[in-house]
């Protein structure tokens, strides 16, 4: 049962990551850079680095999640990434920046709905991580 729930959870997360990557890669990276810059968190070089690499990283992690390969490395990375997004969004919301989250292209304001959605994704990623380590421990124990 837990294995099946984990399979569904990582597939959901994987498709979310692939979709997020696709919405960003379908437009010039400079457009996504505007959304990153509006968070007022990074210097120019940081904004450029994130705008150019994050969509590819999201695509890679999404595909790895769906494939279920090296989950004990991929899942913690996904959890950390989502938690980082959530903190950045919360900061923007508390500062009243009124910006778009930039998560899936343009038009989604940072607000309670987007914060709740991302919090659920963090929880889901946390569950996949815990399960990945549990399965790994179990397989190590049975091998011994």
């Amino acid at each position: 049962m837990r294995v099946r729930v984990q399979l569904i959870a990582r597939c959901v997360l994987g498709f979310v990551f692939v979709y997020a990557a696709w919405t960003k890669l379908a437009q010039p990276w400079e457009r996504f850079a505007l959304a990153v810059d509006s968070y007022r968190l990074l210097p120019e070089w940081g904004v450029i680095a994130v705008a150019r690499t994050l969509p590819w990283l999201e695509l890679l992690l999404g595909l790895l999640l769906v494939a279920g390969w090296q989950l004990h490395y991929v899942a913690p990375l996904v959890t950390a990434l989502l938690a980082g997004f959530w903190v950045a969004m919360l900061r923007a919301y508390l500062q009243g920046l009124g910006i778009d989250c930039g998560c899936f292209g343009v038009g989604q304001a940072v607000g309670p709905a987007t914060l709740l959605r991302d919090a659920l994704l963090v929880v889901l990623a946390g569950f996949v991580t815990v399960e990945a380590f549990r399965v790994r421990r179990a397989s190590s124990a049975s091998a011994a």
Binding site: P28, L34, D37, E44
Partner: protein
């Protein structure tokens, strides 16, 4: 004498042919045939709008609007305590052909007039008496209220939920940018768009 006159006419025509047709009408700036259109919704009393205007839009005016690459339109929303009064003065300044100068003054002195609401004193501290007279002349014009209402209606139409909000239009595609973005990043996006323009 006659030769000098015709030489001046010739030079004038040459300048018109070489320089882009820069239009500065009210709250609109730049060449009407510029490939990129930028529309900015600001509130004169919003601190983020002041930062955006002074740090991003000022260099944009110099590098992209004055060179005919961008046609820039300002829209004023009224969300703060003294925003309406400031919008009245700014629309009067627009009618007087002084929008750019007045906006610089009000954004630079925003902290000062935001406390007191004395927009006129802030403007008068930086503009000449003649310029102030031109602004006052238009303050009670019927167009002022119409302009404020038109900007409000547009903000509703475009679902502007916070300021500053910028709409960048190029070949029928619109990119909304909500919040403050740095000039360095904005210009990269504009350059990318302009790469594809004829």
């Amino acid at each position: 004498m006659r030769t000098a006159f015709w030489l001046c006419v010739l030079l004038g025509l040459l300048a018109l042919a070489v320089l882009p047709a820069v239009a500065q009408q009210g709250k609109r700036f730049g060449a009407l045939d510029a490939p990129v259109t930028v529309e900015v919704f600001s509130d004169m009393q919003c601190p983020a709008c002041a930062a955006y205007h002074l740090e991003t839009l000022r260099p944009l005016m110099k590098d992209y609007v004055a060179t005919g690459k961008v046609f820039l339109t300002f829209r004023l929303t009224v969300n703060h305590r003294h925003s309406y009064r400031a919008a009245r003065y700014m629309n009067a300044a627009a009618l007087a052909g002084l929008f750019e100068k007045a906006s610089e003054v009000l954004f630079e002195k925003q902290k000062q007039w935001s406390e007191t609401g004395d927009v006129e004193a802030a403007l008068a501290s930086a503009l000449t008496e003649a310029e102030m007279a031109r602004i006052r002349e238009h303050l009670d014009a019927q167009e002022i209220e119409q302009a404020i209402e038109a900007d409000r209606a547009l903000a509703r139409t475009f679902q502007v939920r916070s300021t500053p909000t910028t709409f960048i239009r190029y070949r029928g595609e619109t990119t909304p940018v909500v919040g403050v973005v740095s000039y360095a990043i904005l210009r990269r996006y504009l350059d990318r768009l302009l790469e594809g323009s004829p």
